[in-house]
């Protein structure tokens, strides 16, 4: 069953604005990862945040994790047209012998020049 759910499903902003995407999940996790997928391309790893971490930064990306609410957010600051892509969260569950990433449906981000 699907673990992660991103919202919004689609987001359209102007270049220079910030973009925030959210991910909610259902079970306790080991870590949560964010990936970007440009149209017609494979997924590219952005950030991995562990369950004992609350915030992580990488360049213009900021990820937060709230395990009590089972949610994470990805903030892209000062967006650029090149940030136009789909963004996915993926979680690894600590339940049982689960050894796979569970993916959300993604947020489609359009950054307009």
């Amino acid at each position: 069953s699907q673990q992660g759910e991103e919202d919004p499903q689609a987001l359209s902003i102007q270049e220079g604005e910030n973009a925030t995407m959210n991910c909610s999940y259902k079970t306790s996790i080991n870590n949560l990862q964010w990936y970007r997928q440009n149209s017609g391309r494979g997924l590219v790893h952005l950030i991995l945040i562990r369950s004992n971490e609350r915030e992580k930064h990488s360049g213009r990306l900021r990820v937060t994790l709230d395990t009590s609410k089972k949610s994470s957010s990805l903030l892209i600051t000062a967006s650029r047209a090149a940030d136009t892509a789909s963004y996915f969260c993926a979680t690894t569950s600590i339940a049982g012998n689960n050894r796979k990433l569970i993916w959300g449906l993604g947020t489609s981000l359009a950054v307009n020049p």
């Binding site: 997928q37 391309r41 494979g42 997924l43 690894t92 993916w103 449906l105």
Partner: protein, 113 residues
């Protein structure tokens, strides 16, 4: 140098045919995966191999058979192709399983007509 490469990028074939998709990674990773991404961009794990051994086999029809001749290669063979097999198939690899970042190939868009 492409880290994870899969071929072909596009595959158009008729129902009932048998086809293969090849995947190679030059990252020295232990774990490789096959994912299927449907038209709504939902990403679903199909298979996972660790050091040439199958560790995840989701509820995939047995018309799909992965083969790992060595830990750098994971090929996917599909028998008796059906219309519903049309999707984008991604190969990926990671250093040591699901808890580390995954590197994806560029995808193979399979169209069954």
């Amino acid at each position: 140098d492409t880290a994870v490469s899969q071929t072909p990028k596009y595959l158009v074939t008729q129902m009932g045919n048998d086809k293969s998709i090849k995947c190679e990674q030059n990252l020295g990773h232990d774990t490789m995966y096959w994912y299927k991404q449907d038209s709504k961009k939902f990403l679903k794990i199909m298979f996972s191999y660790n050091n040439k051994e199958l560790i995840i086999n989701e509820t995939v029809p047995n018309r799909f058979s992965p083969k790992s001749p060595d830990k750098a290669h994971l090929n996917l063979h599909i028998n008796s192709l059906e219309l519903g097999d049309s999707a984008v198939y991604f190969c990926a690899s990671s250093q040591s399983g699901w808890n580390t970042e995954a590197f994806f190939g560029q995808g193979t868009r399979l169209t069954v007509v």
